[in-house]
């Protein structure tokens, strides 16, 4: 290190040169991010960890060690909620995964009025979710005069209980959720299909491949990445499902649609005599660990696919 360097360095450290060198303006640009993330992201994250070891009624707070976690694990509703959440995720995959794919593959081949197809498919996505739930709640009226039961009656199927049955409630929720979300999935697939390099089709044609083989051996392999990513996104999304069970059934009948997030909500806000914030954050941390693993997998994969 030469003397010149040392002088320069010392020189740099004075406030004036810091301002001249853009330090102040950099700070100005950092300000919104620091403030907003500091108050509404970093601080609450730290607080979540701290609170999970505390018991508080907002007036007095005490440390309780692992008590909150123990209480959460002892709650008989936890396994129920976990099972329900997984069931929701599985059903969402069964309903919302293959059909949009088939629709997208078909739509890709449409020659005329392409825009009409995508617009139709996407229309339910722009309906405000609360409106969609309240509308479907009415469709699911269990009386024979209910909308869906009337339609079933036309084809001679007896009235169904829909949301009023422990076995049908969850599939009914998922059906509505799929209606509301499938359009988005179709558009994502469509975008991925458009990105398939045309040379691959040409090559396949040179080999004498027919339509079916082109779809199976060119299209589907090319979609593997996007398929896996939508899968993980869906799992992460459904793990936090709240709106549907909260508005459709309130978790019923007989806890058949209680999800993890609904359980967290109930811990925190469901008791009229004050929330159990410690247990609520303890459970959300547990869920977070699971989701963080999923997100990591997701990031790994997107990185791999985007670089390859």
């Amino acid at each position: 290190m030469t003397t010149d360097d040392v002088v320069l360095r010392r020189h740099r450290r004075t406030p004036l040169t810091w301002v001249r060198g853009g330090g102040l303006s950099a700070l100005v640009f950092a300000l919104p991010l620091l403030l907003i993330f500091g108050v509404f992201s970093w601080l609450p994250i730290v607080r979540a960890v701290v609170m999970s070891f505390q018991k508080t009624n907002l007036i007095t707070t005490s440390w309780v060690g692992l008590q909150n976690f123990q209480n959460v694990f002892a709650d008989p509703l936890l396994p129920v909620a976990t099972r329900n959440t997984l069931w929701f995720a599985l059903l969402a995959l069964v309903f919302g995964y293959p059909i949009p794919l088939v629709a997208a593959v078909l739509m890709r081949e449409v020659r005329r009025a392409k825009g009409l197809y995508s617009a139709l498919a996407y229309l339910p996505v722009v309906v405000p979710p609360v409106v969609a739930v309240l509308l479907w709640k009415f469709f699911y009226d269990p009386r024979p005069e209910g909308v869906f039961n009337t339609i079933l009656g036309w084809v001679g199927i007896p009235p169904q209980p829909w949301l009023q049955s422990m076995t049908m409630a969850m599939p009914s929720l998922v059906l509505e959720a799929t209606w509301a979300a499938a359009g988005g999935t179709v558009i994502i697939y469509l975008a991925a299909l458009t990105a398939v390099p045309p040379e691959l089709y040409d090559a396949a044609e040179v080999d004498g491949a027919g339509v079916r083989r082109k779809v199976w051996h060119v299209l589907v392999p090319q979609l593997r990445g996007v398929l896996f990513i939508t899968l993980i996104l869906q799992v992460i999304g459904t793990a936090q499902v709240f709106l549907e069970p909260y508005l459709f059934t309130g978790g019923g009948p007989a806890n058949a649609t209680v999800t993890i997030l609904l359980l967290i909500y109930r811990y925190a806000f469901g008791n009229s005599l004050g929330g159990n914030y410690g247990e609520a954050t303890a459970l959300s941390l547990l869920l977070a660990v699971f989701l963080a693993v999923m997100s990591l997998v997701y990031f790994r994969l997107t990185r791999r696919w985007s670089t390859s």
Binding site: A26, S41, V130, A195, Y265, L285, L287, S295
Partner: protein, 333 residues
Amino acid sequence: MTTTSPLGPASPPTVLDAAPSEAPATRDAVTRVRRKARSDDGDDRSAVSVSDWRRPSVKWSLGTSHWLLLVLLVVWCVGPLLLLAKFAVTPTQDILRTPMAIFPNGIAWSNLSEAWNDVQVSKYFVNTIVLAAGAWFSQILVATTGGYLLSVLRPRYARALQAAVLATLFVPAVVLLVPLYLTVLDTPVFHTSLVNSFWGVWLPAGASAFNVVLVQRFFDNLPREVFEAARVDGAGPYRLFWSIVLPMSKPILGVVSIFAVIASWKDFLWPLLVLRNPDLQPLSVRLPSIEATTDKGVLMAALAISTLIPIVLFLVFQRMFLRGAGLGGAVKG
């Protein structure tokens, strides 16, 4: 696909490919060339080629399935909305007794006026728009200034800051539900409550790591020569930001805007917790709370009105919506 709300799904659609892979100028040129080549071809290339289409079996089966698909799309996607439109002007007793009959006892236009005036859908609609506008602004502000700092200015602490922002991507929104609520109840330093104030929704919306990363990656790919040239011309960091970087970033700002607005109008749980005063609530919070006490016909009219404007917006800005949605999964296959 939301990230703006504290309670949106944990991880946003992929970040990595939303940013342009080439400098925008060259990319535009490339797409232009490609598009030209394709238009010479007649249409862009898909699995079924023009010669495939000439074969009767393909033509017949694909043609049929396209018609079938169209019918299904109309029934499945538009059907419920048409029913909603019908219910909105059907007398309550008809809705309850014969929902599928076509106006057996006439049309009840009064449902609409009752919804607009008595249920005050108009007021809640304005609230919904104000909430979306504020959330949009706070997200754009944080994302552009933050992205500019991390990508262009790059002070010494940029790396640490970036890591701290990125880390929040891995924390699902659900973890924040309770602590964020308690933070909003009693904000640090100021010790005031943001409950029953639009700020309680606007400000947390800005803390979206997804937006920051998205914008930062876009800035990373802007041509550095332009910045250097501007600096040589005497532009300071503010002018560089305002007159060079922002105008070059319109595409990414559009994307962030669409995500922001969509997320805000879909948000339910957070405004439910923060906005207890009915005068401040958006439609998403208000409609469920009046569901039990409102006449079915009027409720349906209120639902229909709440849906109408998003649908009109969608039909007008269709292209932007669909591009935004496609980007959500625009990952190289």
